[in-house]
Amino acid sequence: MRRWLLPLLLVPALAWGQMVTRDGVTLTQPQETRAEAIGGQLRCLVCQNESIEASGATLAKQLRVIIRQHVVAGDSDKSIIDFMVQRYGIFVLLKPPVMPLTYLLYAMPGLALALGVLAFWLGRRTRVPPPAPLSAADRDRLEELLK
């Protein structure tokens, strides 16, 4: 058992040590994973509905290179995302931040629910009380009619 313990413990180190090259930048696997996570949050401005990671546009490729260079340089996720927002505006963020411009967007589910509740409340019907039981005379007349 002990013979296997040390090699087993070193298995993650193998993954760590593996270098990958993407778009001409060489970085470690964890760095590449981080870069992909950052690029996945950013919109490619040329195609507008793809992330920088997924897009085949030249600009997206250049931005992927920049992200990887910053990752290798040890910059934080936030500073890399800020770098992009500073240049391209909040439109590069695939998930819009909560800010005055997007309050309505984020309030929409709540507003829709409130509207639904209101419609439900307005549309509810008042229960009509059941009719009084027939008197003996009425019951006799009913019997007579149904005969």
């Binding site: 401005l45 507008q48 500073q86 240049r87 505006g89 439109f91 419609a119 019907r125």
Partner: protein
Amino acid sequence: MSPLRRRLLFGAPLAVAAAGGAGFYTILRRMQDNKYDPHALPSPLIGKRPPAFTLPGAAGFQGFSNTDLLAPPKPMLVNWFASWCVPCLQEAGMLSVLARTGTTIWGINFEDTGPNLATYLAQNGNPYARIAADASGLTAINWGVYGVPETYVIDKTGIVRWRYAGALTLDVVKSTLDPMLKHYA
């Protein structure tokens, strides 16, 4: 059900549909009049000076740096273009008209080569007073340029006032660019 509630139940969806209809109508109308472009992106550079850069000249023209844009004598245009770009070709005529009528235009030649640029200018005329080359496209990224052509208006204090992505048309020039150049003159 009270009459008020009945009226509300009937009227509310109608009001929502009417408001939606009015909204869509306005959007489509403004799109038709070239006053609204759903694809247009606001540039974060507006209200600021361009980021620091120094670019060499291209095709025998003088290049420039951000410090050359600090105080133009009158508002000017910086136009990003490339010889391989089809919409650039489409706006070449418009740029020539602007240059002839006294607007200063400086070009930044984007990811291009000198010989191709020289051929392009020979064929389509040259509206540019200076042309700088951004061969790597990295200065473009710092400007937030996401495609060519893009046109920026720089006022007399060196501040970016307007960015237009796409080929400049007579409509855009008349409705937006001309009034802007006058306003900042």
